[in-house]
Symmetry: D3
Subunit: 239 residues, 6 copies
């Protein structure tokens, strides 16, 4: 099985990290194919970036499809970012977004969960994304750690800021944590140990859910919302 | 006062129609400036188109800002389309989307309202847009008329299909109708007369709401969600 | 255009203040006609006052209608007070309540808004009013400043108490503030400057929304809830 | 124990009928005291009537209190009408409204209930009343029978119209019916037999709930919303 | 009238206390019949205990029915425990659970109520129980006092812990308190006096509601959810 | 990896069928261990059966644990049945219920899903189960096919009845179907083909989700609701 994982921003280093996380989570027989959009923001933090990113990722997916790149499922690795529903229209294979994926697994592990993310300005995006995905009900809080996506390099500061945010989420009633950022893979175990609470990483969750859908021969419904796009003239940025 | 109205698709004829509708609704002293995105779909019907359109409209707005084009408010003339929150981050002037605008006025005219739109596949988009705008609660139904955006040319067929959909919305409990498509200006009066029920046109509503915000010196809050975009590298399609 | 603005209590001085606020917010061609109910409470603080006020305002409106007083729209200037739906049944012209009006504009300015009002005991009234108006979803908090309506004279104390309440609302996640009391006009700008956040005044918002509805030839739906009152014997207090 | 039952309109015949229903439902030792407001509508059908009625009933209650009339609890016998919260502020004894009372008992009898009422125009009022009372969640439908309150005299037509409406409510998923009109006492048993489903009458339910509160020495909380009214000048219609 | 009250655990001393509370709350002519399940947990604290308790109570009820024990209504005296809907299927007489009973009366006494219970781990159970009973909407908080059910013997510690929890509930906006544990009867008055706020005891509330249903000849609907159990082979623990 | 699958009723033939379905869905390396409760109903149809079944399944799980039976995860194969949260308290390994599992995967395949089940009387159970699992929001309908669990043997009748119910669900807006009964495995593909819509089988979904949790080393949170059961005396039916 071959799963395409798309980064939501143009930073190659982050694509590499996502790829590593996806590989670590995948079943033995699964091949991970990570790709970076050709344009868009170098990090997605807020609605402007998110809408820019959504179109760039869709442009990337369209290009891969036209190039007859073969894959069995797609994982959209942008936490809280837009684009999910468009990818479902565009592709015949199942599409799993890391935001919803983490929430789905979190719901199985406790009565209430919460999300720790980078900047406060992205909390609203995440709340809306969980809501439309249909899994917001058991989410008690989405809390920002005051860190920009590209600051995640400083591991020590990142860990400390995330821990503080994680404690706030737990005190709000969360019994399970979701790490709300694609580049945080690895930190999940450490925070889980320190707080003695399960921590779900979106990339890992999405890879496993994508595998499950493929194994069960399930893919996006074409009845209703995600019918194939109508034939029409569309001017795409990448031509 | 100068209000910029952006079409959500690349069809110039539709921009013209929107412009005419905006002008007809505007106060005497208001100047309308209508613009078409430089890329994107020729019509927006579904999530793929909507995300493509959102980035294209944001690209257009960014370009106008960089060119120091002057305007006091922006009306986003794509019914149910994405992008609204991104424009609020990008611009210092107030931004009004025609989806929310129509809903806001509809709430003032009856206890429950409903939306009539073109294709069924866009109903979910509209429902989500009303929800995040905070005005979904009194909406009883969003019903598609089975018409593509670019088929609206055939006035007779359009009117008949919309009337059928409008009756379904009314029977679901709507006391007020919203016309959920940018290019429908003019039809609102006719349907209103035929069904003896108020019909709100989104472009007209948005122009008046934008004027109101400007007159009251109110603009988007920079505290929280719609803070100015962070400085960073963004590769925009239009360069 | 002529807009009738009704105070919700019998205090003439407050009617004058509301009138001044309405005038300051109105378009050049709009005439403001402010009226005080002939009976009811001298200030509306709580449900008992609110129900008394609602009937008194409806009695006033009925009297004006029977006297063939001419006006193009009505603004109900009682924040959180009852009566709105009754006025819509009674009158053929559009009716805008300052509670809902402020909320509608606030929704356009940020992802979440909050309300600062006078006494804590009125918070529940306001929450219910926003809910039935269909705009409660994006409201994060309604906070009382511990001030009686008739104590608003002491400007310094008022400002200080409102600022404290406003900070609580902002800390609860509000990106926009609504001033929840009819006699607070003028304070909106000062609090806005001090907290660097948009502040919406209900009277100003309602006047502009009323103007918009009149300009767009929209008025209350007679289909369903707000059908004309049935002919029957009603004993009105004012005879 | 002495329970005051207030009609919501000025029609004495209806007060008599309500009184009879209340007596039939009361415990042996309970005395029923029925009263008619001194002004207001002859029947309450819609918001205008409801707000007029609310003030008239509060005026009546105030008068009785000032006259030192003694009673242990109050039942407000206007289905869906306003005023409940005001009476709770005004009085030290418990207040039970027939709308909420019927819903509370209905919740104990089935997983979902529905309401059958007179005119369609009152359905919205009832929905809002159930919502603020906190018991709307298990209500699946509120359906009007197309009958005016004062037409209930014609028993045959009333029964037939109510049966039709009751079937619609049941088909919407209601396992229990609430008869949503004060003057329908007696019909509950017949409809219950015909449809083989429990039917709750609001007056009977409210009398029993009022008795229960008195017996358990429970009365309205003065902490928060229903604190005693502030001392101030109030001009009441009845002087 | 004869009301059967079932304890949810196997501790006889608690059954006695519940019986005393039920008797104190019942009308003069009402006979109270208290019963203890023959198996299950000695106290119900959490889901495991609750599901065990539910089956044990249903087993008890089935046994009593087969033994032709006669009673007019059943009160289920396990706060937040499961089983309610099953008892409604099983029995022809009305069934009232103390969780919902307390909430129904609390809704009549203030705009918002809250629940104080024993252990934090049972809060979720109670929230879910209020939700399915249809009375969660006006509940602002369910707070645990950090006490095990069987620790309630130490009256002083119990009172102090409950008072602390009660203050948290009040500060969260509750105007009425519900005591969320079957063995707390008696404490309600003391906490009510100390906090000057109504406190509802579930057993007392349920007894009065059960009496009301019997008096009004109302019982569980057989249409839909609570139809009589299908004839089939069921292996019951008690044989 | 070893997954324990528990039937919710005492019918061995159904356990076999569930076992076969689980095996067909599992990854190559996964071993399926199917077990039948030692007591309880022969089929679970309604709340009485569901509560009986919940305790019986928990009793079974307790026994297996005490016998040191080894397994890495548990799948609860009773659609809409109670017990899930109790199993999470009892066990250290992850627990997945087929109701929630099917819903989680369905959310990934379309904007709205619906459930087709056996008898109408179980619809409420399923709705409540989806609600507490946090995945009810995107469910548009739960529809019964009018078939008892033990009638599923008659394949032709079953298929026809389910198809009729499935069409109703689809017409209510479902873009994805969930088969709401443990013994329906196999039918999912046929209905999917006939309606051209994805159909999710709960057993298959739960097995894959359980595998995912085990692979990602995630298990139930012990912080809060699902803390280990308190040590106490519990009389279990099976001794």
């Amino acid at each position: 099985m071959r799963i395409l994982v798309t980064n939501c921003n143009t930073t190659e280093a982050m694509t590499k990290e996502i790829e590593a996380g996806a590989r670590a989570a995948a079943s033995p027989g699964t091949e991970i194919l990570a790709r970076t959009p050709g344009w868009g923001p170098e990090s997605a933090e807020g609605w402007l970036d998110s809408f820019l990113s959504a179109a760039a990722v869709l442009d990337l997916l369209r290009g891969l499809t036209e190039d007859a790149e073969s894959f069995d499922a797609v994982v959209l690795a942008g936490f809280g970012e837009h684009g999910r529903e468009g990818a479902r229209e565009l592709l015949d294979v199942p599409v799993v977004d890391i935001t919803e994926a983490a929430a789905h697994l979190a719901c199985l592990l406790g009565r209430r969960y919460g999300v720790v993310t980078t900047l406060d300005r992205t909390c609203g995006l995440i709340e809306d994304s969980l809501h439309t995905a249909g899994v917001a009900r058991n989410c008690v809080a989405v809390v920002g750690a005051g860190l920009g996506v590209l600051e995640l390099d400083d591991e020590r500061r990142t860990e400390s800021a995330l821990l503080t945010a994680a404690r706030r989420v737990r005190d709000a009633g969360a019994e399970v944590l979701v790490l709300g950022c694609a580049g945080m893979t690895g930190l999940d175990r450490r925070i889980s140990t320190m707080l003695d609470i399960p921590v779900v990483d979106g990339v890992a969750a999405a890879v496993r859910l994508a595998e499950s859908l493929v194994a069960l021969k399930l893919t996006t419904s074409r009845a209703g919302s995600y019918a194939r796009p109508l034939e029409k003239k569309r001017t795409w940025p990448s031509g």
